[in-house]
Symmetry: C2
Subunit: 418 residues, 2 copies
């Protein structure tokens, strides 16, 4: 049953819309906010005056009006107060921790990559390492620790949102690495753990909502095969936050050996080790751990394909066909409007494209083959952190909504942060 509505809710929602508009479109005058949000000028004034009191936004007195001064009362721009809060975005990948600091306006102002040893990272050692790494990173910025309100973490592999642990990831040797609990305790900030491809999905929606809305899927070819789903206009993460394990959905019963131990997963045909295995005529049952692939191996394979090497070309072609079949299954089950292909391995897409379309054609019923598009998106690692920041901002706005209206308006002190 839907919850009852009351007038608090409507203020909350309208406040949040105004904050979001300022974050997405940058500083603007009240009258513009009214236009964008369709709220009346009176309401905009009321809400922004609230937000000013809270120090969440501030007026800009720019002495240089943009262009030819028009007449009439000049618009006074409002912008988010960047110092109102601070969020940390962290991407955990093989051998590297990528961190970003972003302000309340959603602007990233500090990035850092810190290497670590994935092979020795487990549940016992990693949380402490992560805390220290973050603490030192935050220390570098002139940021008061208490202004950090949200920490978003993305990891490749299987993450469990409920428990806040990385169940399994190529970035760790151990399993069930706790992330959320230790970070929450150490930094006294909200912490959320997400799957990396989900964050790419969120980032795409943030960056181009006109194109990336409604129902679309993102497939990332990288170390493994990841997927993110945006369904009915929101990120879908499954009942346990473990949805979208596209890479481990089965392609051929009893087929090639996958890193996960099962046979015939899509990943066992599509990922770095699978491609190297196929191109070097190793049997499908060769243990992925014994294959030395990775970024370097993949690059070598691409080079061979570029030179016209038959084995390499065949390997890519069969991988493409598997991808086509996988996408066909996805299309049949979810009927998305769009599928976005991205990830480091997309450099090799030109060798897979034709056979991917063949696979799609073989596997997909005519009736479902009309209503979708495939985007190929050049890989940009930054997307993951951008998605984390976008998500953190949403949560931040919601946090501040509770602390909304005060009855007795204190003397105004506009422009300065609280």
């Amino acid at each position: 049953m839907t919850r009852k509505a009351d007038r608090d809710q409507i203020r909350r929602q309208n406040r949040s819309i105004i904050l979001k508009a300022l974050r997405r479109q940058g500083p603007m005058a009240r009258i513009d906010l009214g236009q964008i949000t369709r709220l009346s000028p009176a309401t905009v004034t009321a809400i922004t005056s609230d937000l000013l009191d809270q120090g969440l936004i501030e007026g800009i007195e720019s002495d240089e009006p943009k262009a030819p001064q028009s007449r009439g009362r000049p618009r006074s721009l409002l912008r988010l107060n960047p110092e109102a809060a601070c969020v940390v975005a962290i991407r955990l990948s093989v051998n590297a921790i990528d961190m970003s600091l972003a302000n309340f306006a959603g602007e990233t102002f500090l990035n850092k990559r810190v290497p670590f040893d994935s092979a020795s990272a487990d549940a016992a050692s990693f949380p402490m390492l992560l805390i220290e790494t973050i603490a030192s990173f935050v220390g570098e910025a002139a940021v008061r620790p208490e202004s950090i309100r949200e920490i978003g973490v993305a990891a490749q592999g299987v993450v469990d949102k409920g428990t806040g642990m990385v169940v399994w990831s190529p970035a760790f040797s151990g399993r069930n690495i706790p992330i959320v609990a230790p970070l929450t305790k150490a930094f006294e900030a909200e912490c959320i753990l997400s799957n990396d491809t989900n964050m790419i999905t969120e980032a795409l929606h943030w960056i181009d909502p006109a194109r990336y809305s409604d129902t679309f899927a993102v497939v990332m070819l990288d170390y493994g095969v990841g997927m993110g789903l945006y369904l009915d206009n929101r990120l879908f993460e499954g009942a346990n936050g473990m949805a979208a394990e596209f890479g481990h959905s089965n392609h051929i019963p009893g087929g090639a050996l996958c890193r996960c131990g099962k046979r015939g997963c899509i990943e066992a045909y599509l990922s770095d080790y699978a491609l190297v295995r196929a191109a070097t005529h190793l049997p499908e049952t060769t243990d992925p751990k014994e294959i030395n692939a990775g970024v370097a191996g993949l690059a070598a394979l691409i080079a061979r394909a570029d030179e016209g090497d038959e084995d390499a070309l065949t390997a890519f072609a069969s991988a493409g066909r598997v991808l086509g079949y996988g996408l066909a299954r996805l299309l049949a089950i979810l009927d998305p409007k769009r599928i976005v292909l991205t990830g480091a391995a997309m450099r090799a897409f030109r060798f897979m494209e034709a056979s991917m379309h063949e696979g799609l054609e073989e596997a997909l019923v005519e009736d479902l083959r009309q209503n979708y598009e495939i985007d190929v998106m050049p890989w940009n690692e930054d997307f993951i952190r951008r998605g984390l920041v976008a998500q953190a901002m949403d949560r931040l706005d919601k946090d501040y909504l509770g602390a909304a209206t005060r009855k007795t308006v204190p003397p105004r002190d506009r422009g300065a942060a609280a």
Copy 2:
């Protein structure tokens, strides 16, 4: 961007909550409504008084209070006015049109099954036939045609919600049968076309929301293989309303010939013709049209399995394994909390169960194998119409919300329909 909120919205939502409570829980007093909805007694009085004025609800003066008369002012029960509106629910299946009439309280008060010839039904002939069949059905009831506000139609196969056409269905020989446009015109009522398994999904949620909420999938084994998805607490139908074509997601590349013309669809291993084909040692490439299976064929096969016939048992066992693989893919992609198996073919489930679990185990990564349950639900054709009615009621409530408040309260005429 979320839409702005205004005060109309809150009244609308609260009205809708009250209507829904009355429909779900039956007649009750204002004080109970307050408890359930968490609205204050004052608000409940205000809203119900509105609804009484509109004739959507009515008071009951039951002279027989249920049990030992307690003291205090007796509660005066309110109920939905059953005559406030009327909806038609229609299920199109092979050779039969099943129809129900339901009142505003969601109670079905007339059912009818009318046979028709699926083999000759196409886009040219069927819409007219359907209109006449409905008109005659409605004529049998003492229902004024203009009181029919919603018509919900469910069909097996691929339906396109956007165009309101049945793209392909075993119930028709032709393709692209228009349904929504002709019915809307003929009856001047809202008409919505849905996939049949989606309506089962909706019905389950309506009947037992505690169990069937959040994220679950329904798989129906019948003439074909259908699926319905409830994701993040709402029915998911895909970008074009064509989602959940589970039956035509591929199982084995180049595998058994499916009715859709492709090779290796799940349906080509699981449906009536597939089972008969397997049990009679016909090659996998045998055209499904040449196999005489259907309900009778399936029943015969079950009888043989009951007698211990090896061929039949083997056929069911391999079908079970395919089902297991299909469910494993679904679990990997969507991570649902629950999967419900139902449909006419579930009578044979005992012959498939063991191998289904084998398939699940073979295909599903350990990490995903913990957090779901499988329900086996005895098949009940009525579910489809119940889901249609539930959906129609939701839409009905929304319709009435627009026509809500009037400033000048007319003289009250409580108890009588408008």
